[in-house]
Symmetry: D2
Subunit: 296 residues, 4 copies
């Protein structure tokens, strides 16, 4: 397929590279052009503008937040104006439920198609084409774009025909990961202060009831206090927790653990840890218990 790719951060660059490897024609755009040059060396066509990346069958956006997606979609020379009728915009970043809804309406109104397809996985998984894709959109569109998901991920979960459902499920999943970080952080602060070795403790957990990637990955970062370089920065974690809280407000669902996480992320940022990996919020319990701040 002829695919435009907008947003070449840690995640996006790896995903676009895998699309190239799978034989697709990829036209790549990024705000800072050096990332485009890197990908051009792997066979991508460089795009000088957002509109230039919208000439094909599909354009994928993989951007930091709602504001960035809004800017490239609704701005001058944006996707909405440039994408051909019948072509598909796939949003693969974690966006708000409200924006997913707005994008669905706008693209439908312009005779275009919209699919929300956020992914689970850190940069290593993106590089290995091992992402999990959570996708929702019209059935026909899903068939059209399934080769793309096959090229970047190990499995795709289709969640019906309303794109915003995929965004909500992705948001809830990131909330669950952050919950793991917080609860593991509290447990490790507790047993750690009693002298239990954190790595041995984690081995016990992940050998028994908590034998899951979320515990192995984030528990490992916590046990090793390995918060740089950030696979996913704390300030982005705050963004995602706020998306969960915002979805909860729209649906009138109180989320006390998400509220706690919001305050944790703010604490981490206010004490200098905004650029640490988001797993560092799990180290705040040990700090409150008299230990060192993760940002120091």
């Amino acid at each position: 397929m002829r695919i435009g790719f907008i947003g070449l951060g840690n995640m996006g660059a790896a995903m676009a590279a895998n699309l190239l490897k799978a034989g697709h024609e990829v036209t790549a755009y990024n705000r800072s052009p050096d990332k485009v040059a890197d990908l051009a060396n792997q066979g991508a066509l460089p795009a000088a503008s957002v509109a230039d990346a919208c000439r094909g069958d599909v354009v994928i956006t993989m951007l930091a937040n709602d504001a960035a997606v809004e800017a490239v979609t609704f701005g001058d020379d944006g996707i909405l104006g440039a994408l051909p009728e019948g072509s598909v915009h796939i949003s693969s970043s974690t966006i708000s439920v409200a924006l997913a809804e707005r994008l669905t309406e706008a693209h439908t109104g312009a005779g275009q198609r919209f699919v929300s397809a956020p992914v689970f996985g850190r940069p290593e998984a993106a590089a290995a084409a091992k992402l999990f894709v959570v996708a929702a959109g019209a059935a026909g569109d899903m068939t059209t774009v399934s080769p793309i998901f096959d090229a970047i991920g190990q499995r795709t979960f289709v969640l019906g025909d309303d794109p915003k459902t995929a965004s909500l499920v992705k948001i809830s999943g990131n909330f669950l990961i952050a919950s793991v970080i917080e609860s593991l952080g509290e447990a490790m602060a507790l047993v750690g202060k009693a002298g239990v070795d954190k790595q041995q403790y984690l081995d016990l957990l992940t050998s028994t009831l908590f034998d899951a990637p979320a515990y192995r990955t984030y528990g490992g970062l916590l046990a090793r206090e390995e918060f740089t370089p950030a696979g996913f920065a704390a300030r982005l974690g705050l963004k995602d927790v706020k998306l969960a809280l915002s979805a909860g407000e729209d649906l009138q669902v109180p989320l006390p653990v998400a509220s706690l996480l919001r305050d944790r992320f703010l604490t981490l940022m206010a004490t200098g840890g905004g650029e640490l990996d988001w797993s560092a919020v799990g180290a705040l319990s040990a700090w409150e218990a008299g230990g060192a701040s993760p940002a120091q």
Copy 2:
């Protein structure tokens, strides 16, 4: 080995039966004698008193809470007075760190041995001899009693020579399970109110980052709203969360998620759900979001 077994609830009866199957001589005691008769049918020797169950190499207690363990240990004709010198008291229920410490001192003072060996797993796992045993005690004692752990569980984790460490780790593990229940409950309330099928949602989670028994077991109970019969009653869940909070107080470690769970369990009990499975605390989020109370 000649083993006394005190406490034949859902868990204890299954564990004692597996000791019998493994060829051990089991003398069983329970406050209500009908449970003893059941086990006698499987080959156990009935004990008429706590002291009667203390004539062998080892006595195991599997009781509901600290008070019950204290009663059978320190009471008239209790374990402390009846157990031969050199024999081992294994506490397999979840007891406080403070009680583990007190038992260690008391048994040592009486020339006896003490091992804390709480287990992870629900009644089904106990019946299948698939428990995980978390044990701590003097190295020599651990060697002595290891055949017991082999008979009841699939794997034993040895956590050093101080019995209270095993109790703390077990308490922290139950806290982590309760954290999974709460965070899954919040996430399911959120996506459920948006119309996502809870079982399909759980399948997605457990196929990806949350592929662990804790999520499959408790997520399944939550998705099916299957809170009776209780594998582990809510009032016992409250007890365990309070043990975590108490350990946190002794060690000066704040535990905000545990504090939230305490309030959740109290809410469940005050609204009539104290005998429901503890997974029902995860249904309180949907109740707060306008749905039905799990106790109705």
Copy 3:
């Protein structure tokens, strides 16, 4: 002075009436015109449009939320276009810090003046001209508009020359009131379940360390469970708590009690209490403790 008044709800109508009593010329606008007719009977000039209310020295907005203030200010025929150079826009409703900042810039850019002057007090206090005014703006403007504050309130607190400071202080004050509601609600649930009479309990509190209007007013509503008619509706309480959280995010200040309140307000709304007085959030503790829902 020649004053335009936009927004004749419970609070605004009473404030505008007091301006008339003080001898000012008041031109009044409201989206639903029957409120304008009521005030015209008291001597006000009816305005057919927002712009019609912007011909004088000052225009006051007293509206439900940010969106309403934005609509009348930035919309077609809005305040920004209609207000004469040098005239003052006073925003007396509780608006976000961000909007206060935006209004300051926009009016300054248009050669107009902006003062943020939110008020503390319920409709009874507004009717009695007993409001407390919390005001910030350029010193000269404050002198100009001080007769207005004298006419509607018992005392004015001047908080410097940056209008957004007044908005922040007002937001923090509403947060403190909501905190009183929550903590009193918890305390009353506790002593009430033990059989203590709530009114007698409140008398004890307000005769001793808690001898303040916030405790007398909201404690009285809680003790009498008097949640209708709403002096200030729960959905507006949620709005104000969210303004506090939003200000906390911008300044990177975690606010755990505000987070709890957010969840409380969502619970009240999801269970049917969005139009109750915001003091009803204090009744959720008794509900969780097994009592009746305030919305039933």
Copy 4:
């Protein structure tokens, strides 16, 4: 009256001195005898033992916690054994509901009387005989001991004939004070980070809706960051919050603000602030927002 007084800390010494001033005969006991000598200089009779302080009509205990009251009451040569039939034990410290119940039963069983009469007020108020007394006990006993309350306080609130009610109300009152500290701390962290002067902010609050001693006293300590010397130490604040939580557990009333406070006090203690005034928990919000720790 002939009064024994046990416990001459900051509060007790001032209360006993006021009993002397009112013309009562006071026999004083304290674990460290130098405090007894101080009071003897003011006219008290020194007691060499707890039992020596129990020869009169009334004995008052003003001690740090449940354990101390239990020790002097139930220990060898304790109050229970020494107090004459018909004499009254008044417990004026903040004790648990459970202990109030136990004391009522024990003294009744011994033909003695028990009144729970905790007090509100800091050492300055105790010295000025301006305490508020919250008392419950049999009507006849209350009449007997009312001159004592008149001598130490400005007003007495009688809460019925069950002593434990007074303890519960006192516990709930201390919880409300701690709630004021926390919510003021959050609000001051918010406006303080925006540059608002904390003392001016407090003046605004206490001139309007929050014109109460609790806000003036604790707000002043927070605005001045004046946490030493402690009028009431943080470790005692934790004790009282735990009494509230414990009462809530017995009555099945969840108390989320108390849960938050528990974690706050633990944080303060773990970071070195256990001996600071309990108002220091209100400074933790500013710490989390990037400011200095109150314990540094």
